[in-house]
């Protein structure tokens, strides 16, 4: 048993090490996120009060798009250099290895987004309380996003003509996360308790973290046949 967990930890460490040697991989989503948050205010009049109302949507949709940027490469480079085959042949259950890989990917690409989200929220005019809820909602919601994206990446890894397909597969599935994430911030802005939507986000997190690695490994096996 500890052997399996050790294999998961090894995959986790390997992901971090590979990514840290290519900083562009995790820096670019961050830059992209900042740019999205910069362009939205430019589309409305300076100091428009509507911006505060739309801030949760801007920050959440921006986080979705930025996090999706890196997901497409998640299994592609492993497929090219043969790592993926080794993972499939490994003794440890594939679902565990895929889960470890996705967790590392979350730490690399989504966690930095959560760190700068409060800054963007402040820039868009959110108050301190809603910013706190916003950060919490992203903390609960982004793993769901990465795991859903990982499932879609596993589905398309063998497809030569995938192109823009990945966001088309992922974004409709992310509607609940956007609804609850935005809903929590709106509730906090209105002075209401944001607990209920946050609990929903946590439920989605539990569901996706447990089930999607299994579905993703099934899809990977299918793609590699």
């Amino acid at each position: 048993m500890s052997g399996f967990l050790g294999a998961g930890a090894a995959v986790f460490r390997r992901e971090l090490r590979v990514a840290l040697r290519r900083p562009a991989e995790w820096l670019q989503p961050l830059v992209f996120y900042g740019l999205i948050a910069l362009l939205f205010p430019l589309g409305v009049a300076p100091g428009d009060p509507a911006l505060v109302i739309f801030a949760p949507a801007i920050i959440w949709v921006g986080a979705l798009l930025s996090a999706l940027l890196g997901v497409e490469r998640l299994f592609r480079s492993d497929l090219d250099d043969g790592t993926l085959e080794q993972l499939l042949l490994a003794d440890a259950p594939l679902g565990l290895l895929v889960g470890a890989k996705l967790a590392a990917h979350w730490l690399l690409t989504a966690a930095p987004l959560i760190v700068i989200a409060p800054v963007l929220g402040y820039g868009l005019g959110l108050a301190a309380g809603p910013i706190e809820v916003l950060t919490l909602s992203l903390l609960l919601g982004t793993p769901t996003l990465i795991f859903t994206g990982g499932f879609a990446a596993a589905l398309t890894v063998g497809a030569p003509r995938a192109g823009i397909l990945l966001p088309i597969l992922v974004l409709p599935m992310m509607t609940p996360a956007v609804i609850f994430g935005g809903g929590a911030v709106r509730a906090a802005s209105a002075g209401l308790p944001p607990d209920a939507p946050l609990y929903f986000l946590a439920a989605l997190l539990a569901l996706s973290v447990t089930l999607l690695p299994l579905a993703a490994s099934g899809a990977l096996r299918n793609a590699m046949e």
């Binding site: 398309t156 003509r161 089930l211």
Partner: protein
């Protein structure tokens, strides 16, 4: 005991059986639709609130019901395809998707046409409308995924995985959207519930049941025909296909 099941799963047997069934399904579907449409458009009285506008229900409700049923069909076929690796189930997954997308689009369009005279707007961010729109995107995802692969069987099994994950996702989307709307206090309180739930009178009801049955039978006929075409395409080098079309 399971021999009939295995025999049914063999493409030539399926092809012949579908050839026998499809014309009957189609004829029955057209007959039911003709009677149902006649009953709905001529015999049923106009609604006391909505006037004649309500009559679009005879297209809208069956299309909306099918849009969900077809997704369920895809998921069940996907499960069979992944567990028993049955070729016909794989074919059912990929051939049902375009039909499902069409019915979803039909439900959305007829819903918009219905919404204009009764709600005063083509589109409101009502829970059902929004989740139906998300459903359309889910169908388009399956269609796109199927086209992204060059190997038909890999594509079909990838679609099966997507349909299985999607079928868990559909109720979550539905209820989250409902929750979103009820929190937000939308501009309109009207929902399809309010129109469908109250007791509908007999002369209005029976044509609806007939068109519902007609739509389902039509879906059965369309699915079988599409599956037949797909079977022929995939087995075009098999001997039974060559014999079928030998002159």
């Amino acid at each position: 005991m399971w021999t009939w099941f295995h025999r049914l799963a063999s493409p030539p047997t399926f092809y012949r059986l579908a050839n026998l069934l499809t014309p009957w399904l189609l004829a029955l579907a057209l007959a039911l639709l003709a009677i149902g449409v006649y009953g709905g458009l001529y015999l049923a009285p106009a609604d006391y609130q909505q006037g004649d506008a309500f009559r679009i229900i005879y297209v809208h409700v069956p299309a909306a019901a099918l849009s969900l049923s077809i997704y369920m069909t895809m998921a069940v076929a996907g499960g069979i395809a992944l567990i028993w690796r049955m070729k016909l189930a794989e074919i059912a997954v990929v051939t049902a998707a375009p039909i499902g997308a069409s019915f979803t689009a039909l439900a959305l369009i007829t819903g918009m046409l219905w919404g204009k005279p009764t709600w005063g707007a083509y589109w409101v961010w009502d829970a059902r409308l929004t989740s139906e729109l998300v459903l359309l995107f889910l169908y388009l995802g399956v269609i796109g995924l199927n086209q992204a692969y060059s190997d038909a069987r890999t594509a079909a099994r990838a679609c099966a995985w997507l349909a299985l994950v999607g079928v868990i996702n559909v109720p979550i989307v539905h209820y989250s959207v409902q929750w979103w709307n009820s929190l937000h206090q939308g501009s309109t309180i009207l929902s399809i519930d309010g129109i469908a739930k109250p007791k509908i009178s007999g002369p209005m009801l029976w044509p609806l049941l007939l068109t519902l049955a007609g739509f389902y039978l039509f879906f059965g006929a369309a699915l079988l025909r599409r599956m037949q075409n797909e079977v022929l395409l995939r087995e075009k080098n098999a001997r039974w296909v060559q014999e079928l079309f030998a002159i």
